[in-house]
């Protein structure tokens, strides 16, 4: 029996860990006793980047990763992180299954990450202390953002001052007014109890946090064709299950937030929101494979 060390960044009851339970079950159904999945939760094997590097170096056999991390190896992957490019989750999934998705999978494989399927961690939403529906009031606000050129540029375009603060200190920084707003997925909004300090969520869904299910190349190379097929198909099924779990988790999370007094606001003046995102597309176009590619994805149904 081959034991896979699988790294999960979250607790055993979170989608990030449960997806591997499911994949393990499917694999065991088809190839009884061949593989055992040792899922190590709570980021005990390191943060996302460390885990991905460990996969290349042979100590981790499988994990999930966000697209932003993967773009350190394959910059083209950032196309799935472009703001206001995707209408909804279905649009994103369709894009990952298109030719663009296949191309990025091939490039990731060259870098040592075998990606049977993409996943959707849920959309990032704007979190503020006072209700905001159009981008205007962001001007001059201090905003906690991820330290990535794409994110920094987006919020600068709306006139906000992007500030890098570690996620565990974000609550404190919002409470004391060092920053006035931030953006995050719904699940994380609630798991960090941020509704206590930024009770207004504008459902901008500006960036769909996309990710991948990957197996490590050094491990993959030891498999025969049948095993590769079984693991690959299990991962595809697992990815669909993960997306379902995330949706359900978001609903539970938002119910909790609502109970605690959080308010969800629908964005208005979508033109102004998208106008702030367009320059990001332009500046990222060369990196992600050209404006044609962005347009092709936009027209995908």
């Amino acid at each position: 029996q081959t034991t896979l060390t699988v790294a999960s960044l979250m607790g055993p009851d979170r989608p990030e860990s449960k997806v591997w339970e499911r994949i393990g079950e499917i694999v065991d159904d088809k190839l009884p006793g061949a593989f055992s999945f040792n899922v190590v939760p709570n980021a005990a094997l390191g943060a996302e980047k460390e885990v991905a590097q460990a996969a290349k170096l042979g100590s981790v056999q499988a994990s999930l990763s966000t697209i932003s991390l993967m773009s350190s190896w394959v910059p083209e992957a950032q196309i799935f992180d472009l703001p206001f490019l995707f209408r909804d989750s279905e649009h994103l999934i369709a894009a990952t299954k298109s030719k663009v998705g296949d191309d990025i999978k091939a490039k990731l494989a060259d870098q040592g990450f075998i990606v049977p399927a993409f996943i959707d961690y849920g959309a990032r939403q704007l979190l503020t202390k006072t209700p905001i529906s159009a981008p205007g009031p962001l001007k001059g606000m201090n905003m906690r953002v991820i330290q990535s050129p794409l994110h920094m540029e987006l919020w600068s375009n709306y006139g906000a001052n992007p500030t890098g603060i570690p996620i565990v200190e974000a609550y404190n920084a919002l409470q004391t007014g060092v920053v006035d707003c931030m953006d995050l997925t719904k699940s994380a909004y609630v798991s960090f109890k941020l509704y206590e300090v930024v009770p207004y969520m504008t459902e901008t869904a500006h960036i769909r946090a996309a990710g991948v299910v990957y197996f490590a190349q050094p491990f993959w190379a030891t498999l025969n064709d049948e095993q590769k097929q079984v693991l690959g198909e299990a991962a595809v099924e697992g990815a669909a299950y993960f997306n379902e779990l995330v949706r359900a988790d978001e609903d539970t999370a938002m119910a909790t937030a609502a109970e605690a007094g959080a308010e969800v606001i629908q964005p208005t003046d979508m033109e102004a929101w998208v106008a702030g995102a367009k320059p990001v597309w332009t500046s990222m176009a060369d990196t992600v494979g050209g404006m044609d590619r962005i347009d092709a994805i936009r027209e995908l149904s």
């Binding site: 005990a44 094997l45 590097q53 290349k56 773009s71 350190s72 870098q111 001052n161 570690p166």
Partner: protein
Amino acid sequence: MSLTLDQGVPEGLAWRAGRVLDVASAWLSAIAALVLAGLMVLVVSGFVLRYAFSSSIMGAEAAGIWLNVAIVGLGAPLALNSTLAMRLDVFQRLLPRHVRLGADMVAEAMTLLSGLVIAHGSYTVTRIVGGTNAGLGLPEWIPFALFALGGGLVVLFTVLKLIADGRIATLVVALALAAFAFWLAGSGIRIETGLPKSLILGLIVVVGLVVAAPLPHAFIAGAFLVVPFGSPLPEPAILNSAVSGIMKFLLLAIPFFLLTGTLLARSGVATRLIEFAGALVGHMRGGLAQTTLLTNVFFSGASGSSIASAAFGAATFQPELERHGYPPAKAGAIIAATSVLDNVIPPSIAFLILAMATNLSVGQLLVGGLWGGLVMAVALFVVIRLTCRDAPVSAPAAGGTRWRLALRAVPAFGLGLIVVFGIRLGLVTTTEAAAMAALYTFGLSVWFGVGARGLVAAFRQSATEAAAIALLIASAAPFAFLLAVDDISGLIGDLAAFFGQGPVAALLVSAIILFLVGLVLDIGAAILLFGPLLLPIATAAGIDPIVFGVIMVVNLMIGGLTPPFGVLVFVVGGVTGVPTAHLFRAVLPHVAGLTVALFAISLFALVWAAIA
């Protein structure tokens, strides 16, 4: 045979090796000092840009992290011969002479093997890892190359030191052992034992401790030696784990806290704290001991390192205490025990490491630490009251004098305020606060006339100490990886369940584990390995995670005073020359007092858990 061989070194060769070692050390520490200065400027400018210009340097965080890895690479060989080499020499000194020689050979072989693995493994990572850092636009292999350099230098320095000491036989045998082990692990030979790999690693580390190998190198050599036993961590993955372990922005605060402590002493501001403390408590029974304690409380508010505080106290208070009739061991014990406070009262390196390992909020931990530290200070006050019967050093100071001395100590208090409120209010990140504190004490040092030579020396010393601490953090990471793969936290959970459900069982189990761990491991390594394992058990039992973090740090800090591995006693012994065995005995009443304090804090945690 080797005894005679070991004496037969050509004197000229030994002398030349010694010279090369001195010159190389001087250069390395100068470069490391320069990198530390650059790091300070980088972090402070990040803060200035944010508030003055609402902008930031792209990739500043990554650049800072890489510079810190450079400091570790440069400082790793220097740490080998410092007080922070983390060699546990208690068992080794008990060994008969010829056995001791064998132990020395094994210890040096472990260091050589570790250096070899660091160099070769990191180099392998640079070839495989790939990827570009988004912030810097530079390849991600660069920090691994810096670390590889450190490994090579460790090998070089170990060889030179052995030649300089004339221990040629030790060198030859150690090199042969290291080469053999390196070949064996790479040969593909596999030994099946059925034991958890983390357990095998733990046993190898124990061997390393017994023969007095430097703890970080015992960890790295051990992680590598588990490979033939079927470790899930191949050589390059060991190095990925180790280097990733120190690539955290939060850890940049450590060199700054060390620098602050060193400069505080050099600038003479620490002396003002002593005068003020003396005016407040000098007239009491055991006045000088109480002054030492109160000065430590003040000093703790500005410095984050108990080691810095112990070194400062040993240099400053030991002669004074002895002059006032304290037996040397008792004086040293008071200094070692009071220096515990520095890592509990904020700022604190221990809490930084804990926050990093467990993702708890640093801001909240620091507040918890303040309360914990004050409880400990009260306990130490009582112990000193009961054990010191010497006459007061001074008549009660007049109110006016106290105010004047308080005013003179303001520069030091200002520092504590910057750090604690800056972090607590979230105005600055912990790392920025630490960098600003370092810059502030740098300014004070210049203001109070510390010369260029003294300033450079402070940077050199801090860079070397920071490298030693970071190297330990790095080397413990592969061990933590194996503990996680083997699901040791599940095992500990079962153990806790065996003692019963609820907060009392959880506290009891963690107290036992931390006590045992604290006997042999350094505080930093213990927090890294056991913080993430114990915290979930405590929180599941309803204990507040922050209070539990405080309990854990207090518990381990007490371990810094107990044999066989009591780092604070080692430092005081190293500076004062008092035998550590005497210090360990003299510090017992203080350990008892601190244990009572720990008990009180635990009781608070239980009451808190019951009402929350």
